[in-house]
Amino acid sequence: MPSFSSRAMSFTVAAALSAALSSTAFAQKKYDTGASDTEIKIGNIMPYSGPASAYGVIGKMEEAYFKMINDQGGINGRKINYITYDDGYSPPKAVEQARKLVESDEVLFIASSLGTPSNSAIQKYMNAKKVPQLFVATGATKFGDYKDFPWTMGWQPAYQSESRIYAAYLLKEKPDAKIAIMYQNDDFGKDMLKGLKDGLGSKAASMIVAEESYEVSEPTIESHIVKVKATNADTFVSFTTPKFAAQAIKKVAELGWKPTYIQSNVGASVGSVMKPAGYEIAQGILSANYAKDGADSSWDNDEGMKKFYAFLAKYAPGMDKNDGSVVYGYGQAQTIVQVLKQAGDNLTRANIMKEAANLKNFAPDTLLPGVTISTSPTDFYPIEQLQMQRFKGEKWELFGPIIAGKIEG
C-alpha cells in the first residue's frame, strides 16, 4: 500500500509538474516592439489643427481614459503609453506621423487614427509593416476589407451598414415608397448611396425616383431640394453633413413638402442640425443611432452613462458631454482596453490583431442597450447594429428593434 501510494504520489506530482510546465509554456510572455513587462505603447494620429480640428477631442478623450486606466494599475500590470500626433488632416503629414510612430517611437499598434484621407494614406504602409491599424475613426466601408488589408479594422458602423438599415426599414414600413435621395458628392455620400441601393436590392430601380448630389463647396443646396420635390417622391433620404442637413430640413418645410424623411446619422446632431433648423419643423424625422446621446437626460440613470459622467468629472472636466466626439472617444478607448485585456501576456502584433478580430458581444458603456461589438477573422466591422430613432420634441426618441446592417463580402 505505501509503495502504491508513493507511486501514486509521484505520478500526481509528475502530472502536476507537467501541467505547471505546460501552463507556463502557454502563458509565456511574448512581446513585439512596443510592449514590455511594464508598458504598452499605443500610437494615434489626430487632426488637432486644420479643418477637422473639432474631432481632436477624440484623441484627448482617449488620452484621459488611458490615464484613468493607468491610475487603476494599468492592464495586467502594464501602463499604457499613449502617443498622439497631429496631422492637420493632411495625408502626407499622416504618413510622416505614422512612420514616426512605428519606426521612431516604436509603438505596438496605431489606434483610432482619424479621417478617411489620412487612413487611406497610411493603410498600405501599415499593412506592409504588419502593424495593426485598429479602430480607424471613419465610417468608410473600405476599412473592413480583411482579405486585402488584414491589419486594418474599422469601429463605428460603416456608412453602408447604416444605409442598409434605412433600406430594411423602408422595405418593411413603406414597400411602395417613391424615394428621392440627396447625397454629398464624396466618399461618405457615395458609400451611403451604395448601401441603400444594395439594401433595397432588386427593388432599388423601381423605388428610387431621384438621385441628386451636391458638392461640399456649394453654399446652399436649396435648388437641389426644389428639383427632387418635383419628382413627386413621397420619401426623402438625406445623406448630408450637418450644415446641409439643416438647410435641407428647412427647405423641405418651406416648400410644404411632407415626405417620410430619413436623415443620416452624421447630420443628425441635435445641437448642430436640429436646433438651428428649428425643432417644430424637424418633428418626425427619422434617423438611426448606435451610441447614447450625452445630451439626453433620459440616460442619467443608466449604469454605463453614470460611469461615463463620473469619468468626465474626474479626468476630463473641460469636455462637453453634448459633443458626440466625447462619447465616441470614450467608447473607442474602452474597446482598445478590451482587446488588450483579451491579449493578456501575448502582446505581439499578430495576437493584437487576432484578439481585435475575436471580440464577442462586447458592450462599451456608451453604446445603446443591445448594440454590441462582435468581430471575427472574416468580419472586420465591429459595430454593425443601429436602432431607428424619430425626432420628437427636442430630442431623438428610439423605437423598434436593434437592427444589424451586415455587409456581405
Binding site: Y48, T84, S90, P91, P92, V95, E96, K100, A121, E215
Partner: protein
C-alpha cells in the same frame, strides 16, 4: 492711388548680388558629403524625413527662382506641386510608366501650366499677383475632386502609389538597399541636378535678364530685355521644378489626395523661402528644414498650442535674422575670414 503704385513699382525683393546666389565650392562639398553619408547611419524613418526635406527644398528652390530672381510673388506653388504629384501618380498607376520617367513629364506638364498661367499674370504685379496665385492654390484641391476627372484622380479617395524598389543591380552586388534609402539617393541626385541647372540658369543671360527685371522693370526693357517673355519664362521654370518636386513627393508619400495640397502647403513653401533667405538658392535647404522639422519641434513643446509655438519660433527667427539663413551663412563666412587673418 500713388501709394499703391509705389508699392508695386518698388523692387519686390532686395537685390542679391549674382555671385552670392550660390555657395562656395568648399561649403558645397561639405554639405554634399553630409547629405551622402548621414543616411547610412540613421533609421529608415529619419531617411524618409530627409527625403521629404529634399523634396520640399526643391519646391522652395523653385519659388526662390521666381521670387528671388525675377521678383514675382506666388502663393500658388501648391497648385503646381499638386499637378506634378498627380501627373506622376496617374502615369505610374494607370499607365504603368516607370517612376523615374514620370518626373520629366510632370515637370513638362507643370512648365506648360506655369507658362500659360504666367501670361495673364503679366498684367499683375506685386501683391496683386500674389492674390491671383492664391486663388489658384485655393481652387486646385476642388478641381482635383471634380467628378469629370474622377476615373483618373480617384476623387476624394485619392490614389495609392506603389513605392519603387532599389534597382536589382545593388542586390546583385551584395548590397542591401532599402526602398527608403534608394528613394533618398534618387531624390538627392534629382536635387543636385536641379540645383546645378538653377545656378547655371541664374548665371546665364536669361538669369541676368530676370534679375534686371526684378531690380527695375523699366530699365530692363530699355536695355532690350523682353520683359513679358522672361517673366512668363520664370513662371514656367518655377512651376516645372515644383512639378518635379510634387512628383517625387507623391512617390515618397505613396499617396496623393486633394487634401494634401491645400493653401497650407503654398504658405509653407513661401515661409521656407523667407526663412532660407529670398534669392539665395542654398537657403532653400535651410528653409525646407524649417518647414519639415520645426512643426514637429513645436508639437513636442506643446500639443495644444503647437500652432502658437510655431508662430513664436517664426517671429524670433524673422526678428533675429530678417534675411533668413543667408544672413547666418554670411556671418559665419566673415567670421571664418577674420579667424584666418589672425
Amino acid at each position: 492711388m500713388s501709394t499703391v503704385q509705389d508699392v508695386s513699382a518698388a523692387p519686390a525683393v532686395a537685390a542679391v548680388p549674382k555671385k552670392a546666389m550660390a555657395l562656395g565650392p568648399m561649403a558645397s562639398l561639405i554639405i554634399l558629403a553630409l547629405l551622402i553619408v548621414t543616411p547610412l547611419f540613421v533609421k529608415n524613418f529619419i531617411i524618409f524625413q530627409m527625403t521629404m526635406w529634399l523634396i520640399y527644398a526643391i519646391a522652395v528652390l523653385a519659388l526662390n527662382i521666381l521670387t528671388g530672381a525675377s521678383g514675382q510673388f506666388s502663393l500658388g506653388q501648391s497648385a503646381f506641386y499638386a499637378l506634378g504629384a498627380y501627373t506622376s501618380a496617374i502615369l505610374m498607376e494607370h499607365v504603368g510608366v516607370n517612376y523615374a520617367l514620370t518626373l520629366p513629364v510632370a515637370g513638362l506638364v507643370c512648365f506648360i501650366a506655369g507658362f500659360l498661367f504666367g501670361l495673364p499674370a503679366l498684367r499683375l504685379s506685386g501683391i496683386y499677383l500674389a492674390l491671383a496665385t492664391f486663388a489658384l492654390a485655393v481652387a486646385m484641391p476642388q478641381l482635383l475632386k471634380l467628378g469629370v476627372f474622377e476615373h483618373w484622380t480617384g476623387g476624394v479617395q485619392g490614389l495609392v502609389v506603389t513605392k519603387p524598389d532599389a534597382p536589382e543591380i545593388f542586390a546583385s552586388m551584395g548590397l542591401k538597399v532599402s526602398q527608403d534609402m534608394w528613394l533618398y539617393f534618387f531624390t538627392l541626385a534629382v536635387t543636385i541636378v536641379i540645383y546645378l541647372l538653377s545656378v547655371n540658369l541664374l548665371k546665364s543671360r536669361s538669369g541676368r535678364a530676370m534679375m534686371a527685371i526684378r531690380d527695375n522693370e523699366i530699365a530692363a526693357s530699355a536695355m532690350g530685355v523682353d520683359v513679358s517673355l522672361y517673366k512668363t519664362l520664370a513662371f514656367g521654370v518655377s512651376a516645372g521644378i515644383t512639378g518635379v518636386a510634387g512628383g517625387l513627393g507623391a512617390i515618397a508619400v505613396q499617396f496623393v489626395a486633394p487634401d494634401g495640397y491645400t493653401i497650407q502647403l503654398a504658405i509653407a513653401l513661401f515661409l521656407g523661402m523667407v526663412v532660407g533667405g529670398v534669392g539665395w538658392l542654398p537657403g532653400s535647404l535651410a528653409g525646407a528644414a524649417f518647414i519639415v522639422f520645426v512643426p514637429n519641434i513645436a508639437e513636442h513643446i506643446s500639443k495644444g498650442l503647437s500652432g502658437a509655438v510655431f508662430g513664436v519660433i517664426l517671429i524670433i527667427i524673422i526678428f533675429l535674422l530678417p534675411n533668413g539663413a543667408r544672413q547666418l551663412a554670411y556671418g559665419a563666412q566673415s567670421l571664418i575670414g577674420k579667424l584666418r587673418k589672425h
